[in-house]
Amino acid sequence: MEINIPTPLRQYVGKQASVQVEGATVNDALAALTAAYPDLKKHLFTDEGKLRSFVNLYLNDDDIRYLPEKEATRVSESDSLTIIPSIAGGSYADGELLRAVR
């Protein structure tokens, strides 16, 4: 299956936009990816082996967090997995504003 790599992580996969891996489940595909490109691992997973909170994984158009079997979901050769870090922010935290007012 194909795994789409976001711009910041391409430096760890030979500057490729996508990588082909084999695996029966999402977990297998991720394991194959990090076995082939070990430098990628710490950018995707915490030291405890959990997916980092800001890293989203989409199987085709579905967030794997909301799939019944999550990372254990079975995949086929024609599926594509997309790694997409979150994008968020904002002008100030409410706490910051309170401190400024005080």
Partner: protein, 145 residues
């Protein structure tokens, strides 16, 4: 260095004026090369933080997946993002930094004062990893065409 065409620069600022007093957000598509992020196209995104849109933005990952897919079809990459700070300076905030994870990308912020776009700044997120990341002031080069 962030390289922007004048039309894209104006589009970013106009978006911030349109969504005022809420924050706008969008994605910069282009090419990263030779230490510069060159923007070919800007894509507007929805702000999912309707609970606190005056001081927060969030682009849904699903929308990002679609934008990234469309970018690849055009042989472009995501090289940055933009958002506005309604009645707040065009400087990154603690929240902006904590929520920034696209190392190598440009984060453009436009201050919108009483509905009018004021200063637009860009910050390059650099570093080896999440623990090492930092924002650097990034010059913006605006071209006519």
């Amino acid at each position: 260095m962030l390289k922007l065409k004048i039309a894209e620069y104006q589009a970013i600022r106009a978006h911030g004026e349109e969504t005022y007093p809420h924050e706008c957000c969008g994605v910069l598509l282009g090419v990263a090369d030779d230490g510069a992020n060159t923007v070919n196209e800007t894509v507007r995104a929805g702000n999912t933080r309707t609970d606190s849109a005056h001081n927060r933005y969030n682009i849904s990952p699903q929308e990002l997946v679609k934008i990234q897919r469309q970018a690849r079809e055009k042989k472009l990459d995501i090289v940055g993002f933009y958002h506005s700070h309604p009645d707040h300076p065009a400087q990154w905030s603690v929240t902006d930094f904590a929520e920034a994870h696209w190392i190598g990308c440009s984060y453009v912020i436009t201050a919108v004062e009483k509905g009018k776009a004021a200063i637009t700044n860009s910050f390059l997120l650099t570093g080896a990893d999440e623990d090492d990341k930092k924002f650097l002031d990034e010059p913006i080069e605006i071209s006519k065409a």
